[in-house]
């Protein structure tokens, strides 16, 4: 177990370096001048441009720039924006908001998706089953911004049940609707995967054994059946956190949440390469760690999976 974990962590190193370099290279190759429009209507003075070029090593090769960036990164320094703002501060301000939103989305996805999946998997072809099948198809087919704007208008404006935007305090009650919107498509997938998985395992021999043992039905389903059916759902949920955070930009925009989506968009527009790269790098880290967590969860759920 310990050796497995160490090996998996070591595997993360080349993946991390590879992905960060790709991102760095991508942002580096985007054409454009970071100092265009920096000094009002006039062209910036040469002294300023020379100073900035020197300070940010802009005339060095990409290799040198990347190496410097990585060196600083490992010392916990994300670099500075061209306005000398610490990128670390931008990340510290934006990330918790997006993380909160994504976690709420993940929780909604897990609870509603799994619940619907279990109920429909047990009783296929019933009314509930058809209802869930149709509504999940609906959620998958509709783009996030449609669901977001429609629900915001209905609940927030027309009926006035909720405040249409999220305040800077990011209260949990305010995040329920944005979380639902963000997680809606994944929720539909979770419901469908759970449904199939439950329906498949329901006829398994060990379920029959559990019934033959005279166990109450809720224990047969809640313990024997559920544990076996969770494996594909856990994969989906685990790898989804990164996707939710990365995909939060639209939801953040609709509900006025100050998260990484907005930050990265602004950074791309203003050619703040250090900011773009740093935000994505942290996102990569989230992906990698969640992946590792999923692998570890597998083994906890299914002892037949061995760490070797």
């Amino acid at each position: 177990m310990g050796r497995y974990l160490l090996r998996r962590l070591l595997q993360l190193v080349p993946v991390f370096i590879g992905t960060t370099f790709l991102i760095y290279w991508l942002v580096w190759s985007v054409p454009g001048d970071p100092f265009a429009g920096k000094c009002g209507d006039r062209r910036c003075p040469d002294t300023y441009i020379n100073f900035m070029t020197e300070k940010y090593q802009l005339d060095e090769s990409i290799w040198v720039q990347y190496a410097t960036y990585m060196k600083n990164l490992f010392q916990g320094d994300f670099g500075l924006t061209y306005n000398s703002r610490d990128v670390g501060d931008i990340i510290a301000a934006a990330y918790p908001n997006t993380l909160k939103l994504a976690l709420v989305a993940l929780a909604i996805e897990a609870i509603i998706g799994l619940g619907a999946g279990v109920l429909t998997g047990l009783r296929r072809n019933g009314f509930l089953d058809n209802l869930v099948l149709v509504s999940t198809l609906f959620l998958i087919a509709l783009p996030v911004f449609v669901i977001g704007f429609v629900l915001q208008w209905l609940l927030g404006v027309k009926w006035g049940i909720i405040h249409p935007t999220v305040s800077s305090e990011m209260r949990l009650s305010e995040l329920l609707l944005p979380g639902f919107v963000l997680g809606s498509a994944s929720m539909a997938y979770v419901a469908r995967v759970a449904r199939t998985s439950i329906a498949e395992n329901r006829r398994a021999d060990y379920v029959r054994t559990a019934i033959a043992k005279g166990l109450p039905m809720r224990r047969v389903v809640g313990v024997h059946l559920l544990r076996n059916s969770l494996i594909p759902v856990v994969t989906l949920l685990g790898t989804d956190l990164g996707a939710l955070m990365g995909g939060a930009i639209v939801t953040e925009g609709i509900f006025g949440i100050n998260g990484i989506g907005r930050a990265v968009f602004r950074a791309i527009v203003t050619k703040e390469s250090a900011t773009v790269v740093s935000i994505v790098v942290v996102l990569v880290l989230v992906y990698l760690l969640m992946n590792l967590l999923v692998d570890l969860l597998y083994a906890a759920l299914d002892p037949r999976i061995r760490y070797e």
Binding site: A210, A212, P303
Partner: protein
């Protein structure tokens, strides 16, 4: 354990004397059909058998004869749909289980009637330890605490002769060998001290030497506990040593029921005769194995008359027209063949 149902005084060996209510477990004219898209398959067509305390009944038949489905209907673990019980009774201590409440029936499972399955690898839950699955019976069904339940589960593993029971408690099913897994399965089913044990082909998935060990173990535990044992098998070799009575099934019916010695000595149904003839024999080495010609009937379209008539070497015109009922011949044996008397009386 004081909360086990008290066994009524049953009458072992009283078979053939009508149907007194002192029986432990009685299946009476049970009918099951499978409703599928292609049509309705009549899988069980009026099966009647019984088992008393301390008695072993072997149910013998080819695949598809309905022997396992009967057991599933008795246990109440039939896959519904497609399987539906359409008639008959299953009486446990004289009470019909098919008309009981779900809850009442659930309580009989494991405690009154327990079952072990053919393939212990798929029948045990792969993600829980063997010990957990045995201790669960004590914890959930008896409300016994974790530590005490563990102690008892280890005792059960010990009883089925699993070496190092204490260490094996926390192993998973896939870490057991085939024979050990079936032992664990037996330990689990016997945890609540059931009065009837249904063993559905308990040795089919095992190799021959292990088969013998498992059969010995089952016979021994059955003697010790005075359980009624229903042994479902297609293997005539397995039943000879342990069974008291044998019921032979064909196309969802019992075609012959007899004491084990009588059945082996003088089968009263041509199907039984065919089965006995198809056992490989040491003194016929090198010769082709004898088989029963043809295939079991399609259960969606069972031939009129005796269902065995298309394969029967003795078939007469009457066999194609009249379904022979299961009739008593002599003491304690029955056959569903128009020519049962002739078969028994021939030399």
């Amino acid at each position: 354990m004081s909360d086990i149902l008290v066994t009524e005084q049953s009458q072992p060996g009283a078979d053939g004397s009508g149907r007194p209510s002192g029986r432990l477990l009685e299946v009476d004219d049970l009918r099951v059909e499978f409703r599928t898209r292609d049509g309705v398959a009549k899988v069980i067509n009026g099966v009647t058998y019984h088992v008393d305390a301390g008695e072993t009944l072997a149910v013998l038949g080819e695949s598809g004869s309905g022997k396992s489905v009967t057991a599933q209907a008795v246990m109440g673990i039939l896959d519904t749909p497609p399987g539906f019980v359409t008639g008959g009774q299953v009486r446990f201590h004289g009470k019909d289980m098919l008309t009981m409440s779900t809850e009442e029936r659930r309580r009989i499972r494991g405690e009154g009637i327990a079952m072990i399955f053919q393939d212990a690898l798929s029948a045990l839950n792969p993600v829980f330890t063997v010990g957990f699955q045995i201790a669960e019976q004590f914890r959930i069904r008896r409300g016994i605490g974790r530590a005490e339940a563990k102690k008892r589960a280890i005792e059960m593993l010990d009883q089925v002769k699993i070496p190092n029971a204490k260490g094996r408690f926390s192993n998973y099913p896939h870490q057991f060998s085939g024979g050990m897994r079936q032992r664990a399965m037996i330990a689990m089913s016997l945890a609540l001290d059931p009065e009837v044990l249904i063993a559905d082909e308990p040795t089919t998935a095992l190799d021959v030497t292990v088969q013998a060990q498992i059969m010995d173990l089952l016979a021994e535990l059955q003697r010790e506990r005075q359980m009624g044992l229903i042994l479902i098998t297609h293997d005539l070799g397995v039943v000879a040593d342990v069974a008291d009575r044998i019921a032979v099934m064909y196309a969802g019916r019992i075609v012959e029921e007899a004491d084990v010695y009588e059945l082996y000595g003088k089968p009263a149904h041509p199907y039984t005769l065919g089965l006995l003839d198809s056992i490989p024999r040491m003194d016929e080495k090198g010769q082709q194995l004898r088989t029963i010609k043809g295939l079991p009937p399609n259960l969606m379209n069972i031939p009129p008359g005796c269902p065995f008539n298309p394969r029967c070497p003795m078939a007469q015109p009457v066999c194609r027209e009249k379904l022979p009922p299961l009739l008593q011949i002599g003491s304690g044996r029955a056959s569903a063949c128009h020519f049962a008397e002739e078969l028994v009386n021939r030399d």
